[in-house]
Every structure is written in structure tokens, then in C-alpha cells.
């Protein structure tokens, strides 16, 4: 456990996240320009899409089918689980419970990428086709959560629009688009772009996590608004989902690294695709809840303790 924890905590990407948080704590005038944030997220999504597509082009479908099925199942299951917990234990109203369920059922690409690089850093790289699972995991949970919400009375938002929002959201477009390009162009076709998309990847991720650290720290200030239960949920839910993910990963025959990364994916809370969809589909839900929980609590937890935990779990189960 400890060595994995260290391997993770001492990797540049995680240290950059911590540095970003510190910069906010000491009220530094450091600012990541918004266009840089956007550029990095476009780059990272396209890059993992490309990598995944190239990997898919050389992986027998049979090998991918199991993990894809598992990811899909977890994308249906986890939002229901989250909704139940929030309603029963948290006594949270339907709207906000559904909104949070969408976020915790969906996936955070950053957490996935960080997990992937920490797993590699720890000597247990994950399967090349993992990015495909991100795409599979992103959508269903949001659909399920909206179904739950709309099944219960009038809604201010639009159900169709919300689905369009997810389906055509930048993360799906870039991930699936990147995968298609990678899959079509294949290993040699993408060779010319790999210095940019592969070589530069870890460095760009470092800058991105510096920014995420700042965003997370700013969100932390809103903790008082969200209450003790949500804080507990923001840590407990990822542990449960992470364990589920690791276990499922093992079941479908993923490597230790692969199972751990799947765990990290399932445990993570979306803060790009889900918020966009929820603002459209459930505008009456309070963003202070889902954004603070996803960005201020679950993201930092996963980047620091969560990922090593899932790696260790995967090691034990193996």
C-alpha cells in the first residue's frame, strides 16, 4: 500500500495538483488563463481518444467486450446506488439526489488519465483500450439519473436537450472522434502526430492538474454550504464505486493496472459532461452541491488517496 501511495503522491502530476491547491491557499496571483484550461482539456481528450483508438485497432474485439460490458453495467448501477444512498441516508430531495447521481455515475476524464499515469508510474500499466471505457461509462449514468428525475413529476428543464447535450458534448465528440481517427489511421498513420499527442501528454497533464488543484481548492471554500453528509458522501461513494470497479475489472480479466484504473473511473465524479447536461436537464438542482462534491471533495480524494487505494485493492484481488 505505502509504496504505491508514495509512487502516486510523488508523481509530478499529483504534486502539480497539490501545488495548484497551495497557490490558492496562499492567495497567489498565479492564474491559469481560461483558454489554456480549455486547450488542455481538448488536447487531453483528443489524445486519450487517439491512443485508445490505435489500441483498439490492434485488439481483438473479444478482449474488449467484457470490460465494455462491465463499464456499461456499472454506468447503470452506480447512479441508482448513489440516488438510493442520497435519498435514504442523506434525506436529500429528489432533484439534487438525481443530479448528484448523474455526476457520480458518470466519469471524470482527468481522474482516469491520472489513474492511468499513476498505474504506469507504479509499474502496472493498464490496457491500451481503457479510453474506450471512458466513453462507455460517461453517458448511461446521466441518462439513468434523468430518467429517475423525470419519472417523478414536472421538470423545468428539457429531457431531450439534456441527452443531446451529453451525446454531442465536447468530451464525447473528442473522445469518440479521437478514437475513430486513431482506429482508422492506426499505429503508423498516427506516428507523425505522436510526438505531440503522446510525447507531450504527461507534461500537458501536469499543467492541467496544476489548474485543477486551483479549481478544487477554490471549491473547498464552499464546503460549509454543502453540509457534513455530502462531505462524507464525496469520500464514501468513490470508495464504494472504486471497489466495485476494481472487482468488476478483475471479473472481466483486466490486468491489475486495468482493474485499478477502471476502479478510479467508476469512483470518479464527472465535472464536465454531467454538469453541462444537468444544467440543461435539471436546472432546478443546486450546482453548489454537485460541483463542490465532485471538484472539491471527490477529485482531490481520488488524486491523492483514492487511486493508490484502488491500485492496492487490485493488487490484493489479483
Amino acid at each position: 500500500m505505502l509504496d504505491v501511495l508514495l509512487a502516486s503522491l510523488l508523481s509530478p502530476v499529483v504534486l502539480a495538483f497539490v501545488l495548484g491547491a497551495l497557490a490558492v491557499v496562499v492567495k497567489s496571483d498565479l492564474e491559469i488563463p481560461a483558454p489554456l484550461y480549455k486547450t488542455l482539456s481538448i488536447y487531453l481528450l483528443l489524445a486519450i481518444g487517439l491512443k485508445g483508438g490505435v489500441a483498439l485497432s490492434t485488439t481483438p474485439m473479444a478482449e474488449v467486450a467484457g470490460p465494455v460490458g462491465a463499464a456499461f453495467a456499472l454506468g447503470i448501477l452506480t447512479p441508482i446506488l448513489a440516488y438510493g444512498l442520497l435519498r435514504r441516508l442523506g434525506r436529500m430531495d429528489r432533484t439534487n439526489a438525481a443530479a448528484l447521481a448523474a455526476h457520480y455515475g458518470s466519469v471524470s476524464a482527468v481522474t482516469f488519465i491520472a489513474a492511468q499515469s499513476v498505474a504506469a508510474f507504479a509499474g502496472t500499466p493498464s490496457e491500451g483500450f481503457m479510453p474506450a471505457l471512458v466513453a462507455v461509462l460517461e453517458v448511461p449514468a446521466i441518462v439513468v439519473a434523468l430518467l429517475i428525475a423525470y419519472a417523478r413529476g414536472e421538470r423545468a428543464g428539457s429531457w431531450r436537450e439534456a441527452l443531446m447535450e451529453v451525446a454531442t458534448g465536447q468530451s464525447i465528440i473528442l473522445l469518440v472522434g479521437g478514437m475513430t481517427i486513431g482506429w482508422i489511421a492506426g499505429e503508423e498513420g498516427t506516428a507523425s502526430v505522436s510526438p505531440f499527442f503522446v510525447g507531450g501528454f504527461q507534461g500537458a497533464l501536469t499543467l492541467f492538474l496544476l489548474d485543477m488543484g486551483m479549481t478544487a481548492a477554490r471549491r473547498l471554500r464552499d464546503l460549509r454550504d454543502v453540509g457534513a453528509f455530502l462531505i462524507g458522501f464525496g469520500i464514501g461513494m468513490p470508495i464504494i464505486n472504486g471497489a466495485l470497479g476494481v472487482w468488476a475489472g478483475q471479473m472481466v480479466g483486466l490486468s491489475v493496472g486495468g482493474a485499478a484504473v477502471l476502479g478510479a473511473m467508476v469512483s470518479s465524479a464527472s465535472f464536465i459532461a454531467a454538469p453541462a447536461a444537468i444544467r440543461v436537464g435539471l436546472p432546478e438542482a443546486n450546482p453548489a452541491y454537485y460541483l463542490t462534491a465532485a471538484l472539491g471533495i471527490t477529485l482531490p480524494f481520488n488524486l491523492t488517496l483514492g487511486i493508490p487505494l484502488y491500485l492496492t485493492l487490485a493488487g490484493w484481488l489479483a
Binding site: 481560461a34 484550461y37 423545468a156 428543464g157 447535450e165 479549481t215 477554490r218 465535472f271 464536465i272 454538469p275 453541462a276 444544467r279 440543461v280 436546472p283 432546478e284 450546482p287 453548489a288 460541483l291 471538484l295
Partner: protein, 89 residues
Amino acid sequence: MQTVPHRLVTIIAERHLRDKLVDAVHRLGATGHTLTDVAGEGSRNAGGGRITGANIKLETIVAPAVAEGIAEHVAERYFQHHSVIVYVQ
């Protein structure tokens, strides 16, 4: 542009409402509009800052009647659940 009396309508809203609002103001009679990227805080703060794309400011110069219509439309359609403000000058 200066001849007839005109009003400047300013709408500040979450980014994802941009296209809807642009369509709305033109549908309600605007012949043009100007968009600016802004950041802000208000009573609701529904915006998630840069994560959800900050805010946009939509300005349109229109006839008084059109201004009325736009302000009403925005108030009715968006005030309750969205981070939006509108003012007419």
C-alpha cells in the same frame, strides 16, 4: 442607428444559454447583437466558473418595445432556475 430612440438591452447569463438567448433576441426583433466573455458572481451562482464556461454578456440595441419583450422573455423563461440577469438602458 442614432436617429430613432433605441434601448440597450444587456443580458448576463451562464454560457450554455448563449445560443438560446441569441436566437430569442433575434426572434423578438433584434437586428444584431454583441457577445462578450465575462465572469461573475450573483445571488445564485449557478455557474461553475470556468468548468462550465463562465458567463456571457449579450448586448443588443433595439426599439423600446422590443427591449420590453426581451426583458420579459428572459425573466419568465430563465429567472427562476438559471443564473441570468437582464437590464435595459
